[in-house]
Subunit: 394 residues, 4 copies
């Protein structure tokens, strides 16, 4: 039996789309739409069930929006897990995009029901919960995918492949920042007000909220991890009296220092996730708001701009996830679709026996990535509470 | 009965998705994937039938890629029109993305079968065919949508709304360019080799191929039309001995001059569709490769950059088609999805009686836009043949 | 005797600075300050005399501003030419920055007086005057430098050197534009109101005013000339009823087409002189408002950005005129200083016998460049008057 | 007696230029040329004497380069101070651009000789020396100007004026970075090898070298000072085993946190001094490599780009130091000229009794700015030595 050809990521290997359900994501939510769009665009999924809201009216209206049959619209995710697991045509995976504090329990419920899980970040709100979830995933063998969409941009793959191939030599320092401004005003219902509520978000709001993205990006792109860190946190204009800004000093596993700047109260910054990796032989710079470009400065030649699309220095690993020709812009929805496509491959492999080359799933964030994010978040919180002392991630 | 709420464009008004078929778009094609992605992402369509290729093997493989049931995969579009028209669950619309020369006949076939048509540009290869198609559309009453995706970018709507509201005053001159470089090398099978074949493309290759996009953009954004023009065409390095470059001087209907530059043999230009509109009170500049930004220079204040997303000067007409928050990039696939969403609204109105506010369909390109594109193309060809004389579009 | 080392352009070869006078440039002028700044920064010149204004009070005040001794401040340039020519320590060159209509006579006066001339563009207001001036220059043997400062930017040299070395292959098409907006409002005294007066400017205002810069840049960068052209001109919002905008179609001497767009009534465009040269093997793009960068797209490799400063692909011809390290910005004043430095070398060669390598003076615009500019201007005016017919430059 | 009109900064108020000498700056140096260019371009100074090098041959050749009379070229700065002080036409000010370790003694020598001092940063290599120099300056009454050129860019003034006028409200956080890459390779003679020698540079190389610029910029732009800081330093690829990189956490005097990133070993960064100031009501961003632009994001309106030049939101304080029209680029040499112009005003006031409005000299960095830079450098070194503890600047 041969490996499935995954050169076009948007072809489902089983010759059919998989059945997907949602927990959360109903009207008034934000991130649910992004999951939904990614899943639709990926062509790997039909969305057929959902506990889109715990409020019955909202759940029903939202289900209709997404063309989910009334009989498969739930208001209780536990009921959904039970009933869908029992159906012949039940969902094969669930996308969970509820407030952070509910992640652990919902994900566990579906893992136990044998339904593959696609879980929004951060994994949980405590490291203990994350450990428990990872253990449960191992025990059940059901797959668990974490949705870190930014690392699914094509040019992140390009950077990753260049670094892995030694094109910039040893990494000598890194700067990564993720700056937003949504938190300068109280959130309306539509803007997900729970993101401003510490009880639903977890102890170190800003790190769990967006620091996990920055950390995952750094990790995926460089192949390095964080050995230790120290973190300061601040209230710099956020609408609520909790940290909206973090300055984090990192020591990477290869000894290189790195600097991370996080804020969701920096007016005029929207989704400004930017990374610069300086190496012995070259430098790479990437900005999530200009995702099609990757600046590469080799040591002894003129600067180059890699542009998403075939040819001209684009590596196979990056080309693999590109869909439109150069100049015909891909952006965040395409990155989400890449993630949902790979999640589809993984679930098709587990459920339908599709033969998928491991390289095609290399970037799909799994349980370990979820746990790492929690360890990072916790280490930041610990360091901060102790006045900014160096804290190990081990 | 009330108008459907179209504030979220990705909600199908009938509570179900419409059934869509494809003619063309199979493996080895290019633009089919874009239509497909737009239709999927829009959430208004299920793709359930197709004559994806005239080659049986390719048609079958392509149908499987897109999860079309074997029984609804055709190799002859006429058969498809007949059979689908006869089915209870037959397709409600067809997307046509075959080489230009076949557009007229295929579109006519489906119009006659009562199946709504979504047709890739240019409408036809001759003005006569275009006139006939427009007449047929009127006669049958079946809807016909032209796919000009670039004018569906959110910030094109923003520019259009600002101009319509008089924010830049009288338009005094316009420069628009659409530059690409795909034509500098012979096209592989994958790159749609028919685009280099004059028989399949029509007489004035470069204008029909990309000039129609530039013209439509100018027209939609400014609300003006072209009164007369003169065109020079050149072979500047294209792989085949036919015009790859055009310099077109325009006089707009308000008397303002405009300049259009087209080429598909300009190395280092990818999908460089850019427009600058200078008015009495302000200037607007937009670049398809940076679609999220719109530069606005008012006469007596500092330059402003409008950024897609809510608030900060974004007009309702533009906000209406936005999906992600500021900084969370939308790009070309999102523009295609906007087009397919509005086409879905239109077809739902015709077929299911959905009440759709006319303003929601204002930008959906219809038969007249297709005809205008052909008149423009023809006028360019005529002017060029006559040595670049001024030629009226009337 | 050895060639002077001109590796540092700001070292005067005679071990002393040359004596420079000015005609025009007094208070209320604009361009005089730019000449003055370039001359000072170049370190080749001491400004010691001037007929800075024909109004005595202004002349005296302006002379004091520039630390010119009262005895060498004139109100009549003829008197200045006579007296300075007679002094042992008289000026060795004169910079002429008066309104266009006076150029021919003033320049002739100084050439006849044996004083080297540095003349602002355009050379004259008629082709006949230009021919006469060129003839007079040949007859007298006194040097005449035209001030086209934009082609003295370092990265223009880089582009020129790359093209000369064949790095982009045969030039296949060119687009050049020079857009400004100073003309949308009546000029105050300070803004040089004569630039809006056809009598002082010459018949085809916009071409003589800024088209000559665009033409010179195209010529210097590509090494090609214009064989024939056709021009349309328009009033698009300028403060006075005379052409403020031109659309010019060019055929270059190698057969390649080119497009030139000129306007001084394009709101939001400041000194937007931009050129793109597409060749068989590569493309170069440069923008006067971002003068430190040169975008180079080779046919089969990733885009490169050349950045002014040593190393990383910068050619010797460009490095020769660079002064600050990379990132330590040079801009227009530095370009003017390059021009005044080379003019200093040329005059030092003629007057003091300095041995200057011809390569160091290659880019210094001379009488022929002035005449070419007038022929170009005239051809545009002729073409326009005849309704935009193709007109030869021969 | 009336105040001198300083609306054109390049007009010397005494009707003559002042006499300037140099210590350091001869052939093989780097920064001397920048001082020289700034002084020439400012039109306030004639450079008439110099101890340009301690090596006699180099001193003589360099003097000839700059057209300094042989009799006023010295090899010993002490002799120069004595002789010039004794001459009727002796220098009125001295520019000192020698390696850091010699600053204190040379500056003291000239202050004692009654010759005004223009001193390159950092002021000294120890805080003690800086205190002594400040005391000596007060005692002698001779002026001392520190050359921080970056804060003399026009758009830094614009930012400063906007902040001072409350346009962004209370400053809530700041990020400033100064990144270069000159240190990744051993310096040739021309590149100032002493900058890699700790004995000549002082204990905390990277902070004294470029951190002082970043700190001064932050201070000038925001009007705030640093209350306390903590610093980590690293060797990240610099050619010599000493810190080439610093991560500095700051608490400003208004309580706001700030982040400073310094490195001269970041490949692909040239003179990347960038600052972002986030305030309650708006954000300002400026990049030294794009000095003409200032991005301003007000809280409730679209982003604005302020562009150097008159009108369109440019404040009088910024316009005061602008020389060329919008789009006609000014850059670093112009900033140096602004500094030398204001230094000229100050010396003309002290020596010639010119009446200069204090506002015209507001930004001229004086002894306190030099001392502050040393206190900052020392606090960084102290913090680092103690493992990165919070350290007060008081």
């Amino acid at each position: 039996m041969a490996f499935t050809d995954t050169s076009n990521l948007r072809i489902p290997p089983l010759g059919r789309r998989l059945r997907l359900g949602f927990v959360g994501g109903g009207r008034g939510g934000l991130v649910g739409n992004w999951h939904f769009a990614g899943a639709r665009l990926s062509n790997h999924w039909d969305i057929v069930a959902g506990a889109l809201s715990s409020r019955p009216e909202n759940a029903a209206a939202s289900a209709r929006d997404w063309c989910i049959a009334p009989g498969r619209s739930y208001t209780d995710y536990r009921l959904m897990a039970d009933q869908e697991a029992a159906r012949q045509d039940g969902i094969e995976a669930v996308a969970i995009c509820t407030p952070n504090a509910s992640h652990a329990e919902i994900a566990a419920t579906f893992l136990r029901a044998g339904i593959d899980v696609i879980l929004d970040k951060p994994m949980t709100t405590t490291v203990e919960d994350a450990h428990r979830l990872v253990a449960l995933q191992r025990e059940t063998g059901v797959s668990l995918t974490m949705t870190y969409p930014f690392s699914q941009h094509v040019m992140v793959r390009q950077a990753q492949a260049l670094i892995a191939a030694g094109e910039i030599g040893k990494v000598q320092q890194v700067q990564v920042e993720y700056l937003q401004d949504w938190n300068i005003a109280p959130q309306s219902e539509e803007g997900a007000p729970w993101r401003q509520d510490p009880l639903q978000v977890g102890p170190s709001m800003i790190v769990g909220d967006i620091g996990t993205h920055a950390y995952h990006l750094l990790h995926v792109m460089t192949g390095l991890d964080v050995a230790e860190l120290r973190a300061d946190m601040f209230v710099c204009g956020g609408a609520k009296p909790q940290p909206d800004t973090a300055h984090i000093n990192l020591r990477l596993t290869n000894g290189a220092p790195a600097l991370m700047h996080l804020s969701n109260a920096t007016l005029g910054q929207y989704c400004a996730l930017r990374i610069r990796v300086w190496g012995e032989k070259g430098t790479l710079e990437w900005d999530q708001e200009k995702p099609e470009h990757l600046r590469f400065t080799p040591r002894d030649e003129a600067e180059r701009i890699f542009i998403r699309g075939s040819g001209q220095g684009i590596r196979a690993e990056a080309q693999h996830v590109a869909h439109l020709p150069r100049g015909h812009g891909e952006a965040l929805t395409d990155a989400w679709a890449n993630l949902y496509a790979e999640a589809g491959l993984k679930v098709a492999m587990r459920r339908g026996g599709a033969m998928i080359d491991a390289a095609s799933l290399l970037n799909l964030p799994g349980p370990d990535d979820g746990l790492k994010g929690m360890l990072f978040t916790q280490a930041c919180a610990d360091s901060w509470r102790e006045g900014g002392i160096w804290t190990s991630l081990a």
